[in-house]
């Protein structure tokens, strides 16, 4: 049993390697064709738009990236201090999510790390 199980569980590390490589290289090749700064640009421009209206503390900006086969997500979590509409006085947060992939329509609901009382801005690529 244990021998069979170990034989069975060992089968399949090569397919995993193949799938991981295919996803990674799809992204790295796209990066090689000049898209490498797309995320950086989005990050800068989104920050600039928000900074036009409120003071943004650069240290309070969190960026998360998850590169997938069909869909990639970029989360930019910006803590916005003292919004006037926010009567509680607690910091608000805005989040932008970028779906960059073959099927952008498959973008999942945004905002896993977003403060729910604010509506996140969704940016599709």
């Amino acid at each position: 049993m244990s021998l069979l199980a170990s034989l069975f569980s060992r089968r399949g590390s090569a397919p995993v390697a193949r799938d991981r490589l295919q996803i990674l290289l799809a992204h790295e090749r796209a990066a090689g064709e000049g898209q490498s700064d797309l995320l950086a640009k989005l990050h800068e421009e989104i920050l600039a738009v928000i900074a036009k209206h409120v003071a943004v503390d650069r240290d309070k900006v969190q960026i998360k990236l998850d590169r997938g086969a069909a869909v990639s997500t970029l989360e930019i979590d910006i803590e916005v201090p003292g919004l006037k509409s926010d009567k509680n006085g607690a910091p608000s947060s805005a989040s932008a999510r970028n779906a960059a992939g073959a099927t952008p329509a498959a973008a999942k609901p945004a905002g896993t790390s977003t403060d729910d009382k604010d509506k996140p801005a969704i940016v599709r690529n």
């Binding site: 060992r10 089968r11 490589l21 290289l25 790295e28």
Partner: protein, 292 residues
């Protein structure tokens, strides 16, 4: 070029009075280190020479030269590539003729000097001189994607991308293929550079069990034509222990046969792809033809 104090080069076999021959510059590259670039350079260079071509193998790995050791010429190095690039020695003084195959020469790399001593202009001049003397100029690239690797591939007409069936090697090969298509002289002139995949340290049995990336997997991911599959073999280490390309130390061995086949494909022959095996029994027969 070097002034009157230097005699004309000795009678190297490829020499033909300065008339341009159809020399080919082949770079053996990989990105990742330790995948078998130097071993493959030695074996491919020797196999080409054994087929009657005039061949020079050039070590571009400045600071970490090893091609001389693998070729068994380490005790005969006087001048090196950088001496020639900087004009301190004539090309003919730096070339070491192989003692086993008359048509095979090696141009060693420097062991101590600054990497920046290898200038693009100097390399261009040396490659030009080598083109006049040899049919094949096989360049052993250093690992990495920095200047040394770029210089090694810059003048290449063809490239052998050495890849192990392992994720980091495949990823690095992908980077190198991208560089071959963008930074080389041919790429900049809008010409194609012929790229060939050489899969090394391949274990057909492990691939069949799903423990190792299969040839098809690597080919699908990298999408460049396959020139050979070199099986994992103790003969490769034995050859480097002896200071001999495996095609010379044991021409009948599985890796040597795989290199001979690869070299025939390099010269335009079409051969059925198989992984040669040293294993006698059923096992070897079973896996002999299980490839792409």
């Amino acid at each position: 070029m070097f002034g009157p104090n230097f005699p004309e080069p000795g009678p190297f076999p490829g020499q033909n009075g300065g008339k341009r021959r159809m020399a080919k510059v082949l770079v053996v590259t990989s990105g990742k280190g330790g995948v078998g670039k130097t071993t493959s350079t030695a074996a491919i260079g020797a196999a080409l020479a054994q087929s009657g071509k005039n061949v020079v193998v050039v070590d571009f790995d400045v600071g970490l030269r090893n091609l001389d050791l693998v070729m068994g010429a380490e005790r005969r190095v006087v001048f090196d590539l950088i001496n020639v690039v900087q004009g301190d020695a004539k090309l003919s003084q730096a070339l070491i003729r192989d003692k086993r195959v008359e048509t095979l020469s090696i141009l060693p790399a420097s062991q101590t000097r600054d990497k920046d001593a290898l200038t693009p202009d100097g390399v261009e001049r040396v490659i030009g001189e080598l083109r006049d003397k040899f049919d094949w100029i096989v360049c052993d690239s250093p690992a990495g994607i920095e200047k040394g690797a770029q210089l090694a591939m810059h003048h290449a007409d063809e490239a052998v991308v050495v890849t192990n069936p392992e994720v980091s090697s495949v990823r690095d090969s992908d980077r190198i293929i991208g560089m071959l298509d963008s930074t080389t002289m041919r790429a900049k002139k809008g010409e194609k550079i012929a790229k060939h995949l050489l899969l090394t340290r391949y274990d057909p049995a492990r691939a069949a069990r799903g423990e190792m990336l299969r040839t098809e997997d690597v080919l699908e991911i990298l999408s460049i034509p396959l020139i050979g599959i070199i099986p994992e073999s103790e003969e490769v280490l034995r050859a480097s222990n002896l200071g001999s390309p495996v095609t010379l130390s044991n021409p009948e061995s599985a890796p040597a046969r795989a290199y001979f086949d690869a070299v025939r494909r390099l010269q335009g022959e079409t051969l059925e792809m198989q992984v040669p095996s040293d294993k006698k029994g059923l096992f070897g027969k079973l896996f002999k033809r299980r490839v792409a």
